[in-house]
């Protein structure tokens, strides 16, 4: 739930500004000075503000963004630009087990070939980096970010808000850089029209609070992981899961083929053209990890976004059934051949908590299966790091070998229903 917002009249993100001032390095085009008291005040109340993040931590960037949403002056318009390390970002009301291939996420992606932060690039070519799983606070579907993707956010007062205004702003920036076929489609995404196909390059999502409207979007510019996106967003649990909430709409994606910096500068330019009365008045502020983490609200936000309770526990109710049910009569794919032939599992989870569960064909007899089902009732999926453990017969001694059936079912469930925290 959105935390309590400050009352009207609360001034801007002073803490970020104050701290950012100490970090402000020489930015290419602008002169940086430490803020005087007077300047801080001015910035906190300014009607048009531009921030660029220097961190690639997705949890931190989303928390800085949330801080700007909650603390910028109610009448102000704010642009925030950030780039994340590889991560999959699900919408507020989505189901990670349904949207994401969690085992593949843990396997990670190769290090970015052109990442300047990776000096060991040459020697570490085989090493992969895990892909973070992030649940954002805005609505919409699942997207992939990496260093070849730039995220842009515009926060504005509700009366000025509409779902296309700022996507159009980004389209103007792209066209200015020679991407002539860029346009906003009916889903408020930015697409490029090729000769025969239309590709999505930017997805939109929104968060609307009482006083503020937030529109953020991705923009795939030069991701080296393009071919990996689709597998990452295909869940092995999909045939078995029926979920309330929001399902993603698949789109063909491609890179725009621009470098990050010219794109960012063009977006800033278009934003200034829209909102700057006197351009020189809108300064760009850099926000770094060190300064942001000195702001208690941002630290709290990061902690919340990184918690399993938010990432998994916020999931709307869903069922998982190995076989067709009245509610979900889809034909199921064959289960792995090493599972017991008569194995059945049906469970309903709400906020991750198992509301009802029926296991069949795993224990030595029906009583064992019922006992096992009872032991799992009210347990939370996000607290089941390893299904092989929870499926063990209760009377087995710790060092006793796990029965083969349990081993196989456990391994499969780790794959389709795990959170992977200890695998």
């Amino acid at each position: 739930m959105a935390p309590i917002r400050p009352r009207a009249g609360t001034l801007g993100p002073r803490s970020i500004l104050t701290r950012a001032s100490s970090l402000l390095t020489s930015h290419k085009q602008e002169t940086r000075r430490p803020f005087t008291q007077h300047q801080q005040q001015a910035l906190a109340t300014k009607r048009v503000q531009i921030y660029r993040s220097t961190t690639s931590d997705p949890y931190l960037n989303l928390s800085i963004e949330h801080h700007l949403l909650q603390n910028s002056h109610p009448d102000s318009t704010v642009l925030f630009l950030y780039i994340n390390r590889p991560c999959v970002v699900i919408g507020r009301n989505q189901n990670p087990w349904l949207e994401v291939n969690l085992p593949l996420l843990r396997q990670g992606v190769p290090p970015s070939p052109n990442n300047p932060n990776n000096p060991n690039n040459d020697t570490n070519k085989t090493q992969t980096r895990p892909v973070a799983l992030v649940r954002r606070r805005s609505g919409g579907g699942t997207v992939f970010h990496d260093e070849g993707n730039v995220n842009w956010t515009v926060i504005c007062p509700p009366p000025a808000f509409n779902r296309d205004t700022h996507a159009e702003m980004v389209v103007r920036a792209m066209r200015g850089l020679g991407i002539r076929t860029a346009r906003v489609n009916e889903r408020h995404d930015i697409v490029l029209d090729d000769t025969s196909t239309t590709y999505k390059v930017s997805g939109s999502a929104y968060k609307l609070t009482r006083q503020r409207s937030l529109h953020h979007g991705t923009c795939l510019l030069s991701s080296p992981n393009l071919a990996r996106i689709s597998p990452l967003l295909r869940s092995p649990a999909e045939p078995f899961v029926k979920a309330r909430g929001v399902e993603s709409v698949r789109s063909k994606v491609r890179n725009v083929g621009l470098a990050n910096e010219p794109f960012v500068e063009a977006v800033v330019g278009e934003f200034r053209a829209m909102y700057g009365e006197r351009m020189e008045e809108i300064e760009e502020e850099e926000v770094g990890a060190a300064s942001a983490m000195e702001t208690p609200e941002i630290v709290k936000g990061v902690r919340e976004l990184m918690s399993p309770e938010w990432i998994y526990g916020q999931t709307p109710q869903f069922t998982f059934s190995t076989h067709p049910t009245e509610d979900d009569p889809r034909e199921r794919p064959p289960l792995p051949t090493d599972l017991p032939t008569n194995f059945h599992l049906h469970l309903t989870a709400r906020h991750g908590e198992i509301q009802d569960i029926a296991i069949r064909g795993l224990g030595s007899d029906q009583m064992r299966d019922e006992e096992l089902s009872r032991s799992l009732l009210k347990q939370n999926l996000l607290r089941i790091p390893n299904w092989r453990q929870v499926l063990r017969p209760t009377d087995s001694v710790n060092d006793e070998a796990v029965p083969e059936d349990v081993e196989h079912v456990g391994r499969w469930l780790n794959n389709v229903l795990g959170t992977g925290s200890s695998q």
């Binding site: 009301n93 408020h188 929001v246």
Partner: protein
């Protein structure tokens, strides 16, 4: 519920404003769905929530307005308030998602949530169909307990006529 209504204006540039305007002449207050009390007073916030207060000023029902529901577009998920939670006027108590937008539902007055409409989790589209229906099967969001502070908060809200004028003005703003 803040900005939704506004953002949708642009999504439906034509026809929508006239739709909104037509609601001006429709006396919403006459539609009495209340099962919780006979003489409930309905009030609206600028952010498009409504609250019915029971005649004894002790309990109420909260929902989002028809205007907002129309403006929202297809509601695909409703995040319900937490039962037994105490909230202040303006606090976010839940959210609705439609067209990639997570929009806060705010408490119209200070109150304590006593029950939530679990039907909405299963059938979020109920919000689009009968948003101002506070009976069983309706699109109401939560039932609440109200104390003196809550009753006082009510003074700042609009009655159905004032709200109809307010939304008509919002709809007109769109034409510029």
């Amino acid at each position: 519920m803040a900005s939704i209504a506004r953002c949708l204006r642009s999504a439906r540039p034509s026809g929508f404003s006239s739709l909104v305007k037509s609601s001006v002449s429709r006396p919403i207050a006459i539609r009495s769905f209340s099962v919780t009390s006979t003489n409930a007073i309905r009030k609206y916030t600028k952010e498009h929530e409504w609250i019915d207060l029971s005649a004894d000023n002790k309990t109420g029902v909260i929902g989002i307005s028809e205007y907002a529901a129309k403006a929202l577009g297809d509601v695909v998920f409703v995040e319900l308030p937490e039962a037994s939670k105490k909230v202040k006027a303006g606090d976010a108590i839940g959210a609705v998602e439609s067209v990639k937008s997570a929009a806060d539902i705010n408490a119209p007055i200070s109150c304590k949530i006593t029950a939530v409409n679990v039907l909405l989790e299963e059938k979020p589209g109920t919000i689009n169909q009968v948003p101002e229906d506070d009976s069983h099967g309706g699109g109401w969001i939560a039932k609440v307990q109200v104390d003196e502070e809550g009753v006082k908060d009510l003074e700042a809200l609009m009655d159905p006529e004032a709200y109809a004028e307010f939304t008509a003005a919002e709809g007109e703003g769109e034409d510029h």
